[in-house]
Symmetry: C2
Subunit: 93 residues, 2 copies
């Protein structure tokens, strides 16, 4: 948890793709893995990095593990970016 882990987690293309896949709802580790040309072990490693970063969380059902995006951590990252100004679209009221 914390910015360093979060940014590290976001630095990998595979992990960013996983996040995009999850933006419309939860998926099991297996479903995620099927979309990549990598072993399940590798996907599991990336999921663990995302989880450590707080970007996703898991829930278990039967012998599946479902992963889901944790919006609040995305919001924290957005807040960090907003210090650089740019478009005045994230103004606090």
């Amino acid at each position: 948890m914390g910015f360093p882990e979060t940014f590290k987690a976001l630095s990998d293309p595979v992990r960013r793709e996983i996040l995009v896949m999850l933006k419309d709802g939860k998926m099991s580790a297996g479903e995620i893995g099927k979309r990549f040309d990598m072993t399940g072990a590798t996907i599991s490693y990336h999921l663990s990095q995302l989880k450590k970063a707080g970007l996703i969380f898991e829930t278990k059902y039967k012998n599946f593990i479902y992963y889901e995006i944790n919006i609040s951590v995305f919001e924290e990252v957005m807040l960090w970016f907003s210090q650089f100004g740019g478009k005045e679209n994230d103004k606090k009221n």
Copy 2:
């Protein structure tokens, strides 16, 4: 240039600190370096990564090189984040 480099560049704590230092205006490589316990060569390496990522650009004056933030690339990254919704969209689960 491109997301992969940009996110990689953002993944390092030293580089993020450099960006924060630059948010209020340009600084020379030497001024930046003085605030870190690292050699100038190392700072130069980090500046080159940030430059390659498009996050900063340089201008020369006398024998100084000044670095400055490139807001438009920050905006592109923000746009990537906005696909995940969050506060503004107020997506309910």
